[in-house]
Symmetry: C2
Subunit: 161 residues, 2 copies
DNA sequence: ATATAACCGTTGTAGGGAATAACAATTGGC
DNA sequence: GCCAATTGTTATTCCCTACAACGGTTATAT
């Protein structure tokens, strides 16, 4: 069976389908807006961080380790809401790329102390620069005041969750 | 050189890990707040909709079909930002549960018109009742004004994404 | 001191969600 | 009729999340 690729035409990307879809009450659902906004934000994050190949969770982990040198894996997991089982391959990847490393600790041979490598520190600095521009996009769209309001409201959403 | 850290017995359920983790600049990252808020909202949604076993995407699909009887699959996908390939098993499940169905259309034998079954309509009504209580939780935490502000800000986030 | 419980990191497994490539069947433009 | 485009489908991949269980280690209790 020969496999042929036939996908390229149609430069006009949008509005190809004829009918307009009525969203009904969906446009007033906070959960739906939250989902769409988050998907959009993640997509922009990936685009912005493509050059250093960092995903949001990786950026968060590097930040936590940087702020808490020697922190244990379980502590990072608790802080970020990550399952410790899922944290293992995540940290493995950061170690493989030479950004972070596990240091065995004499006091407790079960746990390992996490540190950033020099390359990890450099990468994090670069990431922070990229992130500033990334955050700036929100300020552009919402205004400084709107952006701060959004941050405060999002934090309130999680209260007593 | 950090030295030994004593671990107290675990009287309380929370705060089991000894050390306090410093979040650094993370608490001022809008993307991070967005991610945590969305995860929290989804968890609450699943909890609230457990009794009728509906996930957010399924609820959205039922809503769109209800508002647009006879809508085609591609139209629903475009509206909700779902890949048409991923929509197939999603709709299969709704059909299997007797909530929605594909009706072949004479005018175009490629496409199928989507409709809710009577059970689908009943389920959607039940879902809307549950959703009202779900949304009310946001109003309780943010106030009516805060909730409306949040909705508006989230919609602005997606502008020109 | 020894048994028991708790903890840390790890492995394995499972599922949802999203993305891409490819395909058959069908429709429409030229 | 030929070729391009569309509709729905299958298959595959990847990321993220969740849960159960384990070996090794440490702490607690008797």
């Amino acid at each position: 069976m020969p496999k042929v690729k036939r996908k390229e035409p149609n430069e006009d990307a949008e509005a190809s389908s004829g009918r307009q879809v009525n969203f009904g009450p969906l446009t007033d659902y906070l959960g739906y807006a939250l989902r769409r906004a988050q998907m959009s934000a993640v997509a922009e994050f990936l685009e912005a961080f493509k050059e250093i190949d960092l995903r949001p969770t990786q950026f968060a982990v590097l930040t936590i380790i940087s702020e808490n040198p020697g922190v244990r894996q379980t502590e990072v997991c608790d802080a970020l809401g990550i399952q410790k089982a899922n944290f293992v391959p995540l940290l493995n990847e950061l170690e493989r790329r030479g950004l972070a490393l596990r240091k065995s600790v004499a006091a407790d041979r079960r746990s390992s102390a996490l540190h950033l490598t020099p390359l990890g520190n450099v990468t994090l600095q670069r990431a922070r620069t990229i992130h500033e521009a990334y955050e700036q996009r929100f300020v552009t769209r919402l205004g400084r005041r709107g952006r701060d309001q959004l941050l405060a409201l999002l934090n309130k959403v999680m209260e007593a969750g």
